[in-house]
């Protein structure tokens, strides 16, 4: 261990990176020191804007035009990377140090066969010659566990899944056996089971070659699971560096503690995520009384099978008539109930049909068949386009996934919150409306002076609060939460989750919480439904599903979630 620290492969000393913007120079990274030993896996953890990606771009010297290294040194294997010529730098990239990125599909050239993209790197760094390059490329595809590599060699990125694309990106990065791999959020956007497979592949390949790895992530759990040492960054500065074993047991810096606390983990309750100790508010309003508020029975949604997506060359062309293939069942005859005052979590990976289900329950989408019964009334029979006008509309509301996308850029926060009241509520007078908006703002913890701001003037957490205020403005009985925290940083997520829980208790609402993250769902829900391929594979109380999962798929899901040691 000591040996590693004294002979770092990569040594970043006093590094400052500036960006020239229209509003002057912005310092993205300030005087940071980071070193990576030979064979070590270092995690750089931070929330958005912490400068973690900028650091890695600076090391690789691939900052975009506006960015520049202002001070400090970057030494790799004794070579001063700041002083290296562009040519030398290009020689090192890919051969000595390489990088994998977030959003693997976009990281690959869309119109070049993946095999050729691997060959480009091999030929560039003279790891192969024309005669044997194909053979070598296929060999690398095999190493990253691509099934049928000879065939996949000829594939284009759009023909491969996200996980498979990330394997190709890894193949390109490791093709020339570099000494250092920088993985920048390599699994963000991938499903949790895919994430596990990709991370295990990275670990296996880098360990086998004795490589050093820098894992850049916002996810403490991921860093804890795979890194020897962790660097925590905040607002462009390093606040703490420690071996992962110690950092999770005894975080030294207040920010690290806050991050640690905010990360959902087994055994923690919602309130454990917050900084300060806060007593649970006394429950008022409705308790679960055994009557189902919402009953969904045999719900089915079918879509006609479609060809590949339209290309931009054919914006105006209609697709040829659909083939006679049987329709695709996005939701396949599912049934469940939500009791009054209950929170039900709907969990599954992308494409499992959970969002389709919530959109149907929300009555924004018409089911193919089946019934949606709200308090005894079959609202599934009312077409979605007519639903806006009926009284039941008030009773079900929704909090959307992306707080930015869910607010009209030309409406102020107050206008957004007032909209449902104006349309469906009973408050009409201007001042009364304003008072009501202020009450709601207070309820969701949005400072009153922010009510007159436009969405682009609010932070992500503030926008989320506006969205929640709008959803509860009409005193709905059921609120559907569609991944309400997926776009938020973990510390903001902790606050928003607590807020939602508090509101539920105070206002006596029921929740249908749609999420991909079992740990987050567990925090908020008493009952959990696990979906896969349009069907329910397991259902039960949150504890039961998480502690003693019956279905193998649920077990796989739970096992795949990385979390920091408790």
């Amino acid at each position: 261990m000591l040996d590693i620290v004294h002979q770092p492969l990569l040594d970043i000393h006093d590094l400052t990176v500036d960006f020239a913007t229209r509003r002057g120079t912005v310092t993205a990274v300030r005087n940071i020191d980071i070193s990576v030993g030979k064979g070590e896996t270092l995690g750089i953890v931070g929330e958005s804007g912490s400068g973690k990606s900028v650091t890695s771009f600076a090391v690789m010297r691939i900052l975009d035009r506006a960015g520049r290294i202002a001070t400090g040194s970057v030494t790799f294997s004794g070579i001063d990377l700041r002083a290296a010529s562009d040519g030398d730098m290009a020689d090192m990239r890919g051969r000595e140090m390489s990088m994998i990125f977030q959003n693997p599909r976009a990281a690959l050239n869309p119109i070049r066969k993946v095999g050729h993209q691997i060959e480009d790197v091999l030929l560039r760094h003279v790891q192969a010659v024309r005669a044997n390059v194909k053979e070598k490329a296929i060999d690398i595809l095999k190493q990253v566990r691509i099934a049928r590599p000879e065939e996949r060699y000829h594939a284009y990125p759009f023909e491969l899944s996200g996980g498979m694309c990330q394997r190709i990106v890894i193949a390109i990065a490791l093709a020339c056996k570099p000494q250092l791999l920088i993985a920048d959020e390599p699994t963000t956007g991938l499903d949790v089971t895919t994430q596990k497979a990709v991370m295990e592949l990275v670990v296996e390949l880098t360990h086998a070659r004795g490589m050093s790895t820098i894992l850049i992530t916002h996810d403490l759990g991921l860093a804890a699971a795979y890194c020897d040492r962790v660097v925590v960054m905040q607002k462009g500065e390093v606040v703490e560096t420690a071996p992962s074993a110690t950092i999770f047991k005894a975080p030294a810096h207040a920010y690290t503690r806050k991050l640690m606390r905010a990360t959902p983990r087994p055994g923690a309750t919602l309130r454990d995520l917050l900084d300060e100790e806060r007593p649970a508010p006394p429950p008022i309003g409705v308790q679960a009384d055994g009557r189902p508020l919402l009953k969904i029975a045999n719900l089915v949604k079918e879509y006609p099978r479609q060809g590949a997506t339209k290309s931009m060359a054919h914006l105006f062309r209609r697709k040829a008539s659909e083939a006679d293939a049987p329709p695709f069942r996005a939701v396949d005859a599912i049934s469940f109930e939500i009791m009054r005052g209950q929170s039900v979590g709907l969990v599954g990976e992308s494409g499992c049909g959970k969002s389709t289900t919530s959109m149907m329950a929300m009555r924004l989408l018409d089911p193919t068949s089946g019934s949606i019964i709200l308090d005894g009334e079959d609202i599934g029979a009312i077409p979605a386009h007519a639903f806006a006008k009926i009284p039941a509309r008030k009773r079900i509301q929704m909090v959307f996934q992306d707080p930015t996308d869910s607010l009209n850029p030309r409406f102020t926060a107050a206008r957004a919150i007032a909209d449902p009241i104006l349309r469906l509520g009973d408050v009409r007078r201007r001042d009364a409306l304003r008072t009501r908006c202020e009450e709601l703002a207070q309820l969701v913890g949005l400072p009153r002076h922010l009510l007159d701001r436009f969405p682009h003037q609010l932070s992500g957490g503030q926008k989320a609060r506006v969205g929640i205020a709008r959803a509860i403005a009409l005193h709905p009985e059921l609120v559907i939460l569609d991944e309400p925290t997926a776009a938020l940083d973990v510390s903001v997520q902790a606050i928003v989750l607590n807020l939602l829980d508090e509101l539920k208790t105070r206002l006596g609402m029921s929740y249908l919480f749609v999420s991909h993250d079992l740990h987050v769902v567990r925090l908020l829900c008493d009952h959990v439904i696990v979906m896969k391929s349009g069907r329910i594979v397991e259902e039960g109380s949150a504890e039961q599903v998480l502690e003693a999962p019956q279905d193998p798929y649920t077990r796989e899901l739970i096992a795949a979630i990385p979390h920091p040691p408790v």
Binding site: A28, S48, D64, F316, M398, P420
Partner: protein
């Protein structure tokens, strides 16, 4: 990712409200960029000429005087005279009104027609989309200037028909933009939220979709003004629409064309320059407007 990180580092304190911030930004764009400032001045000049042109000119634009025919620019005739001895400066200034009127009317017309049908197509989809799409596909199947020629030839050689033809050939462009913008917003979170708030589709269209699309359409309007002017001038250059002796830039260039080979350059040059400056002005204004409306999509 770098861009994202930088913006996140920037302070989020922008207490100004939307409108005043936009105005401030607009002033910054107009004054901060000399080219936009220049085009704005040019625009004012064009408007003045269009409104008050006939009262400003030194000579009657139609008065012939063979005694001074084909005179190069001089102090008496700043832009020279044409083959009938008419003062070119007066003709160029007076022509502004007609050229601008054709462009303004056709662009306003296509803005309304193309905007409405494009937004409806993008928002409602289904048969509306198919109908509007088919219509603009059919127009797009023709080379646009050639179609305009055909339309004016068929409908009759008048200024009104030039306006109609220019409207028709610009239609697909407006439809495409409005359709695309409406389509991406059709199921945006804030539109879904408006449905949950009990808004009907028409109200959503008017309060949620339209205000977000209008600025983009306005930019397009400025950009197509130039194209509309060029198109109308092109048609009159080949003898469609405006008839002599009406002063109009396109026809004046056509009249001057015959004299270019014998060296009387001024007859074609000045109306041509006026035409070019007007188009130039609207293109620059369009770029400036785009900077105001959408700072990200700069070129």
């Amino acid at each position: 990712m770098t861009a994202l990180d930088t913006t996140a580092v920037e302070p989020d304190a922008r207490p100004a409200t939307g409108l005043s911030a936009t105005l401030k930004h607009a002033r910054h764009v107009v004054t901060g960029n000399p080219i936009t400032g220049f085009s704005f001045t040019l625009f004012i000049l064009l408007v003045v000429c269009a409104l008050f042109g006939p009262f400003l000119v030194p000579y009657d634009p139609l008065a012939t005087n063979t005694a001074v025919a084909l005179k190069p620019p001089s102090l008496h005739h700043l832009m020279g005279t044409d083959q009938l001895g008419r003062d070119l400066l007066s003709r160029v200034i007076v022509a502004t009104r007609l050229d601008m009127a054709v462009a303004v009317f056709s662009v306003a017309l296509v803005f309304v027609l193309g905007g409405i049908s494009g937004i409806a197509a993008g928002y409602f989809g289904g048969w509306t989309d198919r109908l509007v799409g088919r219509l603009s596909d059919t127009i797009m199947a023709f080379p646009l200037f050639v179609l305009a020629m055909g339309i004016v030839a068929a409908l009759g050689n008048t200024v009104t028909n030039i306006i109609i033809a220019t409207t028709i050939i610009n239609y697909p462009l407006y439809v495409r933009i409005a359709r695309a913008e409406a389509n991406v917003r059709r199921n945006a979170g804030f539109v879904q939220a408006a449905r949950l708030s009990g808004n009907g589709e028409i109200r959503i269209l008017l309060t949620q979709i339209l205000p977000n699309i209008l600025p983009i359409m306005m930019v397009q309007m400025s950009l197509t003004m130039g194209y509309a002017i060029l198109n109308a001038a092109g048609l009159s250059f080949i003898g469609l629409g405006v008839r002599p002796p009406t002063p109009e830039w396109g026809i004046m260039v056509a009249e001057g064309a015959a004299f270019i080979v014998s060296g009387e350059w001024w007859i074609a040059l000045f109306p041509g320059l006026a035409l070019m400056l007007a188009v130039f002005c609207f293109n620059l204004l369009g770029d400036g407007l785009r900077d105001i409306v959408d700072p990200q999509r700069r070129t």
